[in-house]
């Protein structure tokens, strides 16, 4: 007992020490020359290593944009793969500087777990996937089903609520990672796989016969996914927040990776000029170079380009923009002004 108390105390001291130092995250990242970014263990389209072993995906692109803004180099990122259970500990202990891992912004995570969600990069909701052969067309027909579920996520609680509200029973099979869930689901060890709709679409895209599986129409929760940082370092939080805002605003103003070099010479739109650093000193205010957002946008293009490249309708994942369209197109993507 003595030994274990000692060990936990040492561990807790280490955590606390990392917490104390968090006020200088920007300084640490610049000294280190590498951004530590927590991502999914492997969810095609969002965060997964490609054939060359390089991480790519929708969430990965946010990490790269931040690295480009802070360090000027989108490849100076150390990707740390985290499960639903380990992501918060990794962030709280200082192992990673930010987490961009399809993580739902909730009250308790924001206030009780002491994290800061800097924005929303994907508006999602929890859905269900079933084999087409089951003949199920609505989630309300799932009474008595065995449901595979990733443990340590909000989906676990939403699922319990949904089945309770509809007075149905189910048999939960808790699973650690998406890959294991996929294996269990395909073997028929569970009838249903539930997670965020985007995750279901991404998982289905990797199946041998995606057409044999259907996503049920019910979306049983709101899942605003976004990157997060630790509480208490507002400067760092602002950098990540405004990098994300910059990506979204760039799409709105038509700044793309194709025309950015031209626009960075100066335009007659003052807002674009302020974003790209030819007017004002926004980079300096954040503690960065004046071309911070130019670098961020060069990393992977604006929000729309990132979306289309990794999860858009032309990819195997095939997600429509839907709620994630710009506000000007009837979606919810709306960046505060650069002023």
């Amino acid at each position: 007992m003595k030994k274990s108390v000692l060990a936990s105390a040492v561990a807790a001291t280490a955590i606390a020490a990392a917490g104390m130092a968090s006020a200088q995250t920007l300084q640490q990242v610049q000294d280190r020359g590498v951004l530590n970014c927590g991502v999914n263990t492997g969810l095609v389209g969002f965060a997964a290593p490609n054939a060359e072993g390089e991480w790519e995906g929708f969430d990965v692109a946010v990490c790269r944009a931040v690295a480009a803004a802070v360090l000027g180099d989108p490849s100076s990122v150390e990707f740390v793969s985290t499960t639903g259970k380990t992501r918060f500990t990794a962030l709280a202990s200082g192992e990673v500087d930010m987490v961009s891992r399809n993580t739902t912004w909730t009250f308790t995570r924001d206030n009780d777990l002491k994290f800061e969600f800097v924005g929303i990069n994907y508006y999602d909701g929890q859905g269900f996937m079933v084999p087409r052969a089951l003949g199920v067309s609505s989630a309300t027909e799932l009474d008595g089903a065995t449901v595979c579920i990733q443990t340590g996520t909000t989906t676990e609680l939403n699922l319990a609520d949904f089945f309770r509200a509809n007075n149905m029973n189910y048999d939960p099979v808790p699973i650690e990672t998406n890959a294991e869930a996929q294996q269990q689901y395909l073997a028929g060890a569970c009838d249903v796989y539930t997670t965020d709709m985007s995750g279901l679409a991404a998982t289905r895209a990797t199946f041998e016969a995606p057409g044999d599986h259907v996503l049920l129409p019910e979306v049983i929760s709101k899942e605003p996914l976004g990157p997060l940082v630790r509480h208490g370092d507002n400067e760092w939080g602002d950098i990540v927040r405004w990098t994300l805002n910059g990506l979204i605003a760039a799409e709105e103003y038509g700044i793309t990776s194709a025309n950015i070099d031209e626009l960075a010479q100066g335009t007659n739109n003052p807002e674009i000029n302020r974003m790209l650093g030819t007017e004002g000193n926004f980079g300096e205010i954040l503690g960065l170079e004046s071309d911070w957002l130019v670098n961020a946008l060069k990393a992977g293009g604006n929000y729309g380009e990132i979306f289309e490249r990794h999860i858009g309708e032309s990819t195997p994942i095939g997600l429509a923009r839907g709620l994630n369209a710009q506000w000007t197109d009837g979606g919810l993507m709306y960046s505060p002004p650069f002023r």
Partner: protein, 519 residues
């Protein structure tokens, strides 16, 4: 005459704490202890202060809040509105279940493998050596995953049992091995059930008592009583008498089958065929309900295997309620269209009519069989795939270590003991049982205790296969959803500490009972 002179009693002086070797060591120990306490206090104080800086305090209030998540294996009633504490307790019970099953199986496996490894039969000895080396030298997590993945991939899904001409059929119509687990019948106690169980347990105790008595008699007087058939008789006869007695009296009392108004008078077969199925209100733990369900399942099986033309896919469902009154209420509300009640009670129920068919009350033990309904098998007992994988992996892994402990124990007994026993004319089996094992046990037990502790602690790998043990509930989902890491981990440590110390304590009592008695 000699007189002893008392040495003058030395007065204790403070300087002796440093100068006198008798006291000096105490001085240093006290100083070391003081420094250690100071260091601990600093770590604790540092932890609390830094947590306070982060805005977190240590509080166990979260244990009273609703957990909000479901657990698939529930030894006690639990739903997602129960507290985190209850969820943790469900996890504790699941840990104890797998630890108990694992320890028992590992002991059996280990003893057999350990003894056989010393066999003179070359093949048997080498096979056991291969088992020990293979399982002892591969991490237990790998074994857990291998068994789980093989089960998932090799066994059929429940849907394979569905349809008029299913790919898979249930073993004896009562058991099904699927990739979600093995479904087996659940015993339901009928009339005289408790008495039957009590008599059976008493008979088992009686067998042991008789054999003890026979041994004592043999040693005291040299009279050798027969052991085989009296043991069998003690085991079987009283239970059989009780079984027959209750089956023929209370158990054969007839139950009326209630159906909705207007359908009365026909046989059960005609009624169910005409309706294309039936929903039975099943009273939990009532043998008459189980008998009625068995009758329905038999009908379903008959309909399925009938000639192709009249093949009927009967839709049989059960509606579980807690008491007979609730069953009657559910029947009157139309939630089911079949209900088995005692005849005298049937007269008091206003709604419905009775069928011509009557069913007996049931034997002292009836088997509540699982059956396919909807996505899964219902009723019966589901031994989950995750439990099986964890149980067997822990058992064969730890069994390999126990086998080595057993082998070491046996080999520690000098060969002369065997030879001496043989020269007295004892046969090999008797030499092992009467001479070697009683002595070897003393050497075997202490290391086996630590294997039990290892197995119990290794059961915390359960989350790898989704088995909800205490690490999965309290240390997994609760920790994650509440963010109370330190509190949860402290409780988890406390639990494993208590359970390990309890196992040690129990096994030490056993060890004291078998160890060499020195006089």
């Amino acid at each position: 005459m000699s007189s002893t002179v008392e040495p003058p009693r030395e007065q204790f002086r403070l300087s002796m704490l440093l100068n006198d070797t008798r006291y000096r060591s105490y001085t240093f120990q006290v100083i070391a202890l003081f420094l250690l306490i100071l260091f601990m206090a600093f770590l604790g104080w540092n932890l609390v202060r830094n947590l306070a800086d982060l805005g977190q305090d240590i509080s166990f209030a979260f244990l009273g809040e609703p957990a909000g998540y479901d657990i698939n294996q529930r030894p006690i009633p639990y739903n997602n509105q129960d507290s985190h504490l209850r969820a943790a307790f469900v996890g504790v019970l699941n840990t104890l279940i797998v630890a108990f099953l694992g320890c028992v199986t590992a002991t059996i496996l280990g003893t057999i493998a350990g003894v056989l490894r010393l066999s003179n039969n070359w093949l048997v000895a080498k096979l056991m050596a291969a088992y020990v080396e293979a399982f002892r030298n591969v991490p237990v997590l790998i074994w857990i995953l291998i068994i789980f993945f093989i089960m998932t991939a090799a066994l059929p899904a429940p849907s394979a049992f569905r349809g008029a001409d299913p790919d898979q059929t249930m073993l004896f119509g009562a058991m099904a091995a699927t990739n979600r687990g093995v479904y087996v019948p659940e015993p339901v106690l009928g009339p005289g059930g408790w008495l039957f169980v009590a008599v059976f347990l008493a008979s088992v105790a009686g067998v042991f008592a008789y054999r003890r008595f026979a041994t004592k008699l043999l040693y005291d007087t040299g009279r050798d009583l027969p052991r085989g058939w009296p043991s069998l008789a003690i085991l079987v006869v009283p239970s059989l008498v009780v079984w027959l007695l209750f089956s023929l009296t209370a158990g054969s009392a007839q139950n009326a089958l209630l159906v909705p108004e207007g359908a009365g008078g026909q046989t059960l077969e005609d009624y169910v065929m005409a309706e294309g199925g039936a929903t039975l209100c099943l009273v939990d733990g009532a043998s008459s309900s189980t008998v009625a369900k068995t009758a329905l399942l038999r009908l379903q099986a008959a309909a399925r295997s009938g000639p192709v033309d009249d093949r009927v896919n009967l839709n049989i469902r059960t509606n579980r309620v807690e008491s007979r009154a609730a069953a009657v209420a559910a029947f009157e509300e139309g939630q089911c269209n079949l209900l088995a009640v005692p005849q005298e009670a049937a007269a008091n129920i206003a709604a419905g009519a009775t069928l011509e068919t009557q069913l007996r009350e049931g034997r002292p033990i009836e088997w509540d069989k699982p059956y396919l309904s909807g996505f899964n098998f219902s009723d019966g007992v589901q031994v989950r795939g995750s439990l099986i994988a964890l149980w067997f992996a822990l058992a064969i892994y730890t069994g390999a270590f126990i086998a080595e402990n057993v082998r070491a124990g046996i080999q520690a007994i000098p060969r002369g003991q065997t030879e001496a026993a043989a020269s007295l004319g004892l046969r090999p089996g008797r030499i092992m049982n009467l001479v070697i094992l009683p002595q070897a046990l003393r050497i075997i037990i202490p290391p086996v205790i630590s294997q039990y502790l290892n197995l119990t602690k290794n059961s915390s790998l359960a989350i790898a296969v989704g088995y909800m043990d205490v690490t999965g509930t309290l240390g997994g989902i609760t920790l994650n959803q509440t963010g109370r890491a330190i509190e949860s981990i402290l409780m988890l440590m406390l639990f494993y500490l208590i359970i390990s110390l309890s196992i040690s304590a129990v096994m030490n009592v056993f060890n004291n009972a078998v160890r060499l008695k020195e006089r």
